[in-house]
């Protein structure tokens, strides 16, 4: 295994507000890593830095051994794809036309599509389980179907690195599991490296062999779900108490303790508490 992603000493701030205070992270080819942390902890910023849409203030980021600054935009898009939590899909396109937009960074033909483009689009639709949607129009799709189309679009880029930005946020529980299972399967069949920002700790623990916990702009812990997700760390990062159970292979199941009725009252009207 060789390193695909290397961050060292990465600092970043929006204006005077520092978000990342020096992050070191190395991801080997073929790994699936979940980035966990509270809202505002900097994990989405980390993803944007990797996607090249933000530049670090300090420190270095390298993809496939090459500093991010040395990549041209469309070259980077040939290697790195992003699956957003939601996208306003433009009306009037068919699913296949939308997935073909994933070929934009590879485009060689002035107006048509090359044989590679056609093959890549078909493979992407097939792998994302969206081939039966190919000729449907975007407006007819359900939430789960739209998410499969977005996966197909990202796969059409034929990336080495797939970045997931809270992709399960707008899905029901069955679709959350289906999406992550399909990502885990694609990681093996396409030798993808996956870095995913996730919110659901149990879901992350179930699908990611490695989790990284971001807290106050730093990596607080990095390792297997069993090593990282302790009750004490979860309380430190999220400020909630949890009950935990472990599966046979050591993956934690978390149940968050709900506040009592009295605390509930205080939370509902914080000003008058």
């Amino acid at each position: 295994m060789t390193a695909l992603v290397e961050l060292s000493g990465v600092q970043f701030g929006y204006g005077s507000r520092r978000v990342l205070e020096g992050v070191d992270l190395t991801v080997q080819r073929g790994e699936l890593v979940a980035l966990l942390g509270a809202n505002g902890s900097g994990k989405t910023t980390l993803l944007r830095l990797l996607a090249g849409t933000l530049r670090p203030d300090q420190g270095t980021i390298a993809i496939a051994g090459r500093p991010l600054g040395a990549w041209r935009r469309h070259e980077l898009a040939q290697h790195v794809a992003v699956l957003p939590q939601q996208l306003d899909l433009p009306a009037g396109f068919r699913v296949a036309e939308l997935v073909e937009m994933g070929r934009a960074p590879h485009a060689r033909r002035l107006f048509g599509a090359s044989a590679e483009d056609e093959a890549a689009v078909e493979r992407a639709l097939l792998d994302a389980g969206a081939l039966d949607l190919a000729h449907r129009s975007i407006e007819e799709l359900s939430g789960g179907e739209r998410q499969r189309v977005l996966v197909a679009m990202a796969l059409a880029q034929e990336p080495e690195l797939l970045l997931l930005d809270e992709p399960t946020t707008h899905l029901d529980v069955a679709h959350q599991v289906a999406l992550l299972a399909s990502i885990a399967r694609l990681r093996r069949s396409r030798q993808l490296t996956v870095l995913a920002v996730l919110h659901d700790l149990t879901l992350a623990a179930a699908f990611a062999p490695r989790v990284a916990l971001v807290h106050d702009g730093r990596l607080l812990a990095d390792g297997t779900p069993h090593e990282v997700l302790s009750q004490q760390r979860v309380r430190q990062v999220f400020g909630v108490a949890t009950q935990m159970a472990w599966t046979a292979d050591g993956r934690p199941h978390l149940v968050v303790e709900l506040p009592s009725a009295a605390q509930d009252q205080a939370l509902a009207s914080p000003g008058r508490a």
Binding site: E75, P84, F93, A104, P105, F111, E118, L126, E140
Partner: protein, 367 residues
């Protein structure tokens, strides 16, 4: 794992609209344009038969060896008066159609038209200054009649005014992280307001030039000439062609700026290039016609409903339909006794746009 379902129809998955579809859409557009061309050149206050019109055009444009059985006056009317005017209408309509399509995609705003970020206000100020200046400062009168590059000072100032205003708006709207679309729209609005006040002041001071100013502001093709066409045509056609080559980037931009960046687009550079090209086409069009409304707004909407949002077909179709519509509207304006064509496009365009709006909303609710 999901089994791959058999496709009901083996339509290709990639490559955009089929050849048949492209030929049907664009061929239909060219045919429509040809019909409008013959009708608009043939009809007018002086009756010249359509067959004679077609023979004169075939003789002069295509160089066909046809016996000149027509009067020299008929040839002058067709070739020196009507033809440049009809072709200018087509060029302006086509340019506004393409620029409108580009601005709607770029600004992701359905109300966007080619004038929105300052072109109209800047060109108006330039043109009005060109009309008024010789009256206020008689020394300038000599310069006003001089032709520069075969066109008058009013056109030159209108063209420069449009370009410079967008340059100013773009520069002011530019922040540390680049140009935000919302900022661009608001800056365009603010700058346009300032320039509109200056135009109003000049109109107040203009005295007997008010009629000429008004005709320009309403948009009119009465001043069309071969030399003005020769100035505007290369600018409009070149910008439109370069914009067509960027169809893929425009499609990707419809996904939003973040997603477009993830697909390899250099967003800030692309916004600059698209704004520059669309503004160049708009300013050149406005310089020879005044500010003609609704073509750049209605044409892209109508076509998106009819043929879909894919820019590789939408852009050339916008040019063809915009050209045909404005030439037809100008024919109507001429036949109605020579009113400014901008009044015709507003009278027909605005109600049509309302109908379109209600129709597409009804379709969305039904879906």
């Amino acid at each position: 794992m999901r089994a791959a379902p058999a496709l009901p129809i083996s339509r290709p998955l990639a490559g955009g609209p089929s050849l048949t579809r492209s030929v049907a859409v664009l061929g239909g557009g060219v045919l429509l344009l040809a019909v409008v061309l013959v009708a608009a050149v043939g009809l007018g206050s002086v009756g010249i038969g359509l067959d004679q019109t077609a023979r004169i055009l075939a003789h002069r444009l295509l160089g066909l060896p046809i016996d000149a059985s027509w009067s020299p006056a008929a040839e002058t009317i067709i070739f020196d008066l009507r033809l440049p005017r009809v072709l200018t209408a087509m060029l302006v309509g086509g340019g506004l159609g393409v620029a409108g399509t580009v601005f709607q995609a770029l600004l992701r705003n359905p109300m966007a038209d080619p004038y929105l970020i300052g072109t109209a206000a800047g060109a108006s100020l330039g043109a009005v200054a060109g009309i008024v200046a010789p009256l206020l400062l008689p020394a300038l009168a000599l310069g006003a009649t001089t032709a520069w590059w075969g066109i008058g000072m009013v056109q030159v100032l209108a063209f420069a005014g449009g370009l410079l205003t967008v340059l100013l708006v773009y520069t002011v709207a530019r922040g540390a992280g680049g140009v935000q679309v919302v900022t661009l729209l608001l800056t365009g609005y603010a700058v346009s307001s300032i320039l509109a006040a200056a135009v109003a002041l000049l109109m107040f001071l203009s005295g007997r030039a008010l009629g000429a100013i008004f005709a320009w502001l309403m948009g009119s093709l009465a001043g069309a000439s071969w030399s003005a066409l020769a100035f505007a045509a290369p600018l409009v056609l070149l910008s439109a062609a370069l914009l067509l080559l960027r169809w893929r980037r425009l499609n990707v931009l419809l996904l939003g700026e973040a997603a477009a960046a993830h697909l390899g687009l250099d967003i800030e550079r692309e916004k600059l290039v698209l704004t520059a090209l669309a503004t160049l086409a708009t300013s050149a069009a406005v310089a020879v016609s005044g500010t003609i409304g609704f073509v750049g707004l209605v044409v892209p909407h109508l076509l998106r409903l009819a043929i879909g949002p894919d820019h590789r077909l939408l852009l050339p179709a916008s040019f063809l339909l915009g050209a045909a519509l404005l030439a037809a509207a100008d024919l109507g304006a001429r036949l109605a006794g020579g009113i400014p064509v901008g009044i015709v496009t507003a009278l027909l365009g605005a109600p049509f746009f309302l109908w379109l709006l209600r129709r597409s909303r009804a379709a969305r609710l039904a879906a």
